[in-house]
Each structure stands twice: as structure tokens, then as C-alpha cells.
């Protein structure tokens, strides 16, 4: 008997005992749903927590500050900064050449006088940092977008503002969306001395607010394209005293954000950057600790799901054993017609696999639905708290693993009933006589 014939026969048997088959499939489906939902939620929670720790950027991100580094501080995630050590283009090139570095994003900063021309209510102009980064690779930035999007480079200036900016203009975080599309203005100042008097001359920039981000970035409250900030910085630096009194740092770059090839490379890359001469910080230790903790949680949740699956497997074994008892004559007839022990075993194993497959598919689908439902509830809470929401991605690997796992488990559970059926004597065919 071919596998196809065994499948047809098993399928007919399942259909004939529809009630019992449905109950068995339902038990498997419930277990599979539980497993899928738990793993999908655990996986999302892990991603969310790690993203929070890495500020939305890659887990392998390293912050480099314009301060002298000390190799003795490498064991600390956020060491104390040493004396000022400016970062220039040559330093960037040296860091880019380090083995294990995937990308280096430069950060520039300028002091700016910030106003909000369309301000509908309270809040006063203030002086704050304007931070510029390379917006060509937004996925590498350690920034969590609460509303809207990150600014784009090129074209009319766009800006993303921080929660600090909202606070200064009396906008509640829960109403962050209301500032999208409004205008923000700032001026970088140049100190001029014509021999008679010293005065500050401002260069004004008007930009559209396109996003609200969760963190204050580089001690600034606005994030925009690096070119915009570089213009402002140059303007300030072209004044008296090289712009020192206007807050221009001797360091061309306010910092770097270095992305290592992988989390396991972070330590080596940090050491190499320290050798170049800069202080680095990365949440590698806390990430590792949290990751280990989350793994334990994931294992526990998987174990809960696995126990449910084991119970379901026992259900399959029980249902098939009952079927073997009921179908003694039928099995005898199969043998009388010429079925070998292997043929009979195959029919029951295929039947077990079919029950596991059906239950696994149904359970994985329901589990995905449950995970999304839980995600919705969690998101309502997070949104209410003004926090970034989570996205429960389609857990393709988890679902495929669940379906495969339930099918294999069902086959294992069906082994004993199948062996018992195969051992039944052909003379049982006479049982109905």
C-alpha cells in the first residue's frame, strides 16, 4: 500500500468518526494555539524590551563620545567620560576601518534658539540642542518613533521633536500627533564684533515637524538632517571666538554611533575604539543579562505549551487506541485482503499525522489570533501611557515549528496504537462472523 493510499484510507477513517476526530483535533489545536500564542508574545516581549534597552537602534550599537577613553572602563556599559578629545573626519575613517564595524553614523550638534510660530497655547521659546544625523539609514538610528516618522534628508527641512520639546510647548505626550505637520523654527547664532559693539546675528530655519521621538537625542530636543545642523554649526563657528561662546564644540562631531556586525562583536569593537582614543558606551552587559532572563521566560512558556502538547499527544494516542479496539475486525479484513503489518502500521501513523497536522494548523492560526488580540490590549495600555506600541509580527517560524511539532508528536503518539494494530492477527477478520 502506498503512502497516498494510506492517506486516503486514514482520511476516510477520520471523516467517518468525525465527532471523535474533531475532539482529538480540538485538543491538539488548543495546545498548539497556546504554544503559538505564548511563544509569539514572548518573542515580541523580548524584542520590545531589547529595543527599549537599545533605544530602538540595533542591539549591536555603540555610542562614541568626544572624550578620551580608558581601557579599564570597558567592563562598564556607560563609563565616565574622560577629558575632551575632539572627533574629526580622520577619526571616523579609523573607526570605520576596525574589523567588525558595520557602519559609523556621525552626530552633529548646534545650539539653537527654538520657537513655535503656530503655537496654539502656552510655552515659551527656549535654547536647546539641534541634533543632526545621517538620515539615509534610519534603521540604524537608536531612536524610537512615537508618532509620525523620522525626517528625510534633502528637500525642505523636516524635523522630529522629542518629548522634552513637547513639554516646553505644553503639549501632552498623549497628544503628540497634534504637532505633526506644524512648523518649528530655530536660529543658530553668530557672535559678531564690528569694533564698536558685539552682537548676535541669527540664521533662521523653518522646518515641518514630521515626527515625535521617545528620547532626547544627544542632549538636544530636535532631530534633523546632518547637513542642516552642519550649516548652523559653521555659521556659529564663523563668528567671534570660533563660536565658543555660542556653544560650538571644538569637536567636529558631537558623537558617533557605531554599529558592530553583531552583538558578540560589540566588546571587541569597543576595545578597538578605546585604543583609537575615545570613550564608548553600549548596553551590552545589561542586554546580555536581560536576554538571558528573557530566554528563561521563553523556555518556561515553551514548557507550558509543550506540556499542553504532551497532553494532546496522549489524547491522540488514546483516540487511536480506542480506534484500534473498535476496528479489530476491519484491521483483520485488511490483512485478509493482503495488507502486511507494515501496511496497517502505515494507515494508523498517517491517521495520527493527519490529526496532528489538522490540529497544528488550526491551533497555530488561532494562536496567532490570540497573540494579536493580546498585542492590541497591550498597545492600548502603552498608547495610554505615551509609550511606543508593539507590533506582533507574523510568527511564521513559530507557526511552522508548531505545525511540524504537533505532526511529529502525533506520529510519535500514534506509534504505540499503530504497532498494536499491526500486531493484531489476520484471523480477527472473522470476528464479525
Amino acid at each position: 500500500m502506498t503512502w497516498r493510499d494510506a492517506l486516503v484510507l486514514a482520511g476516510r477513517s477520520v471523516r467517518r468518526r468525525l465527532g471523535r476526530s474533531a475532539l482529538t483535533v480540538a485538543a491538539v489545536a488548543l495546545a498548539a494555539a497556546l504554544l503559538t500564542a505564548l511563544l509569539a508574545i514572548a518573542s515580541t516581549a523580548q524584542t520590545r524590551v531589547l529595543e527599549q534597552l537599545s533605544s530602538g537602534g540595533p542591539l549591536s550599537g555603540i555610542s562614541v563620545t568626544p572624550a578620551a577613553g580608558d581601557a579599564a572602563d570597558l567592563d562598564e556599559d556607560t563609563p565616565d567620560e574622560g577629558r575632551l578629545r575632539p572627533i574629526d573626519a580622520a577619526d571616523v575613517e579609523r573607526i570605520e576601518a576596525i574589523d567588525g564595524v558595520e557602519a559609523v553614523l556621525v552626530v552633529q550638534r548646534a545650539e539653537a534658539f527654538v520657537i513655535r510660530p503656530e503655537r496654539p497655547r502656552g510655552g515659551e521659546p527656549f535654547v536647546s540642542g539641534l541634533v543632526g544625523v545621517d538620515l539615509g539609514r534610519p534603521s540604524l538610528l537608536p531612536v524610537t518613533v512615537l508618532e509620525g516618522r523620522l525626517p528625510s534628508s534633502g528637500g525642505a527641512p523636516e524635523v522630529a521633536v522629542t518629548e522634552g520639546w513637547l513639554e516646553r510647548f505644553d503639549v501632552d505626550v498623549a497628544d503628540a500627533a497634534t504637532v505633526l505637520g506644524t512648523e518649528a523654527m530655530w536660529a543658530t547664532g553668530r557672535l559678531e564684533d564690528d569694533g564698536q559693539e558685539v552682537r548676535i546675528r541669527g540664521r533662521w530655519v523653518k522646518a515641518t515637524v514630521v515626527g515625535v521621538i521617545a528620547q532626547d537625542v544627544g542632549a538636544g530636543s530636535m532631530l534633523t538632517a546632518r547637513e542642516v545642523v552642519d550649516d548652523g554649526r559653521r555659521w556659529s563657528a564663523s563668528g567671534v571666538d570660533g563660536g565658543r561662546q555660542m556653544g560650538v564644540s571644538p569637536s567636529t562631531y558631537a558623537g558617533l554611533f557605531v554599529v558592530a556586525d553583531g552583538v558578540d562583536q560589540v566588546g571587541d569593537v569597543r576595545a578597538a575604539i578605546t585604543e583609537v582614543g575615545f570613550t564608548t558606551s553600549a548596553p551590552e552587559n545589561v542586554l546580555a543579562s536581560v536576554d538571558r532572563y528573557l530566554r528563561v521566560v521563553e523556555i518556561i512558556l515553551a514548557a507550558v505549551g509543550a506540556i499542553a502538547l504532551a497532553v494532546a499527544a496522549l489524547g491522540i494516542a488514546n483516540a487511536l487506541l480506542a480506534a484500534v479496539r473498535e476496528r479489530r475486525v476491519e484491521i483483520g479484513v485488511l490483512k485478509a485482503v493482503g495488507a502486511s503489518d507494515g501496511d496497517v502500521r502505515r494507515v494508523f501513523l498517517v491517521e495520527a499525522a493527519a490529526l496532528g497536522l489538522l490540529g497544528g494548523c488550526a491551533g497555530a492560526t488561532v494562536g496567532w489570533g490570540i497573540a494579536r488580540l493580546v498585542g492590541e490590549i497591550v498597545n492600548r495600555y502603552l498608547a495610554g501611557e505615551g509609550l511606543a506600541t508593539v507590533t506582533i509580527d507574523f510568527p511564521a517560524a513559530i507557526m511552522a515549528g508548531t505545525v511540524l511539532g504537533t505532526t511529529l508528536l502525533a506520529v510519535v503518539a500514534g506509534t504505540v496504537p499503530a504497532a498494536r494494530a499491526a500486531r493484531l492477527p489476520a484471523s480477527d477478520a472473522m470476528g464479525g462472523s
Partner: protein
């Protein structure tokens, strides 16, 4: 398409390969283990059936008729004695050999029909082909041919519960003949049928036997049915006694 018993054995049925087999049973004994000790059922049974012969086995309930049939058909291991079918000792076959023997050499017709309820009439007939490795297309054609021959072409797609007792038994006969067996073993084939259906099934079996010299062993407790066989054995006290034809 041909119909009637001659169609049952098909084209290959006219050749020597498909002619009935001789059956030689010598010193066959069988007992069942019970809590009170072994229960002997057959005791030194001797029996001969020539190739293409038609034999009826009679005896009261518990006389060992069905046990003898299962031993002839390789459904049960031989404990003592020999069962030779065309010179091949069935007792010497291993599990795979017995399965092949049941698949190719014998065809069974059961009192309870032995049909799989989950399948249609045609699928039940095809089942024998699935087990013998017949390709699906040939399998379907052969099943259609056999169902036509037993007068059930219109009922091919019907499930077992939709068939009458007589129709079920005719499907059982069609399935038994699917692989062109050389021996047909029938256990009370008319035991659950009314008079008209019984006559139809018996005519079918006799036709098959006559058309291709198929060896038929038929167990029955109905003297009228037994009397239609040219050779009769009666089981009593564990022994088989040949009954002379009147």
C-alpha cells in the same frame, strides 16, 4: 463490457496461471488456549481439494469450520500438520510471505461482508488492488469491471451503509476476485442474506468456479447450500469426514 461470472476473472483468467490451486491438508490439528487449558478444535484433519474443485464444509457451531478456513487462508498460524496449496506449505511462510499469499493466492468472502464502512463500494473493491500495488487507473478499471460483472455498476459510488445485504456480499465477492486469486474461501457467504440474495451470491460463486476452474471452499451450516457443492466435508469432533454425493 462483459458481465456475469466469466467477466470476473478477466482476460488473464483464461490462462493456466489463474486456474485454481490444489489444496492438500494433512494431519491438521488446532487448539485454542483458554483459562481452563487448551481447547482442541481440529484433530488430525485430512482434506483434499482438486484444482478448480468446489467444496463445502459443514458442521455444527464450534465444530471448527471457520478455524479450518482461516488456516487454509493463512489468517492463522498452523500449529500442527500441513496445509499445502499447489505444493507450497502455508505453515512455512513468514509474516510477509503470508501477507503475499493472502494477497495473491486466496480471496476471502466473509459472512459479515468485511467491507470498510468508510469507503464506497468501488473503493472497497479497489482496496485489494491498492494492497497488491496495482496502479490507480488500472485499479479503477478493474473495480468497475468487477462491479459491472456482479450487477452493481450503478452502486459503485454508494457507501456501504447504502447497500443491501445481498449487494454488500456481491461487493465482497468482487473484492475477493480483484487480484484473480486461485482459491476462493467463503465463510457462510449466505448466512446473513435472504433467499433471493443467497441464490444470487451462490450463483455468482458457482459461476466463477466453473468459468475459470477457481478452487472454492465454502463453509456453511445450510444443508441446501452445502448440497450444491460437488464435494462435501462434514466436521465433527474435530475431524473432517467426506460426505459421498448422493
Amino acid at each position: 463490457m462483459r458481465s456475469g461470472p466469466e467477466a470476473l476473472v478477466g482476460e488473464a483468467g483464461t490462462g493456466l496461471r489463474d486456474a485454481g490451486a490444489t489444496i492438500e491438508v494433512r494431519g491438521l490439528s488446532h487448539e485454542y488456549p483458554t483459562a481452563l487449558g487448551p481447547l482442541p478444535v481440529l484433530d488430525e484433519v485430512d482434506l483434499s481439494v482438486p484444482a478448480g474443485g468446489r467444496v463445502s464444509l459443514t458442521g455444527r457451531s464450534g465444530s471448527g469450520k471457520s478455524t479450518l478456513l482461516t488456516l487454509l487462508g493463512g489468517l492463522r498460524p498452523v500449529q500442527r500438520g500441513t496445509v499445502e496449496v499447489d505444493g507450497v506449505d502455508v505453515a512455512g511462510l513468514d509474516a510477509e510471505g503470508l501477507a503475499a499469499y493472502r494477497r495473491r493466492t486466496v480471496g476471502f468472502v466473509f459472512q459479515h461482508f468485511g467491507l470498510l464502512e468508510a469507503l464506497t463500494a468501488a473503493e472497497n473493491v479497489e482496496l485489494a488492488g491498492a494492497l497488491s500495488g496495482t496502479r490507480p487507473r488500472q485499479r479503477k478499471a478493474r473495480a468497475a469491471e468487477l462491479l459491472e460483472a456482479v450487477g452493481l455498476a450503478e452502486r459503485a459510488g454508494h457507501r456501504v451503509h447504502q447497500l443491501s445485504g445481498g449487494e454488500r456480499q456481491r461487493v465482497g465477492v468482487a473484492r475477493a476476485l480483484f487480484n484473480r486469486p486461485r482459491v476462493l474461501l467463503a465463510d457462510e457467504p449466505t448466512g446473513n442474506l435472504d433467499g433471493e440474495s443467497s441464490a444470487a451470491v451462490l450463483a455468482l460463486l458457482e459461476g466463477v468456479s466453473a468459468s475459470d476452474r477457481l478452487t472454492v471452499v465454502l463453509v456453511t451450516h445450510d444443508p441446501a447450500v452445502a448440497g450444491r457443492a460437488p464435494r462435501r466435508y462434514h466436521l465433527d469432533g474435530g475431524r473432517a469426514r467426506a460426505i459421498p454425493i448422493q
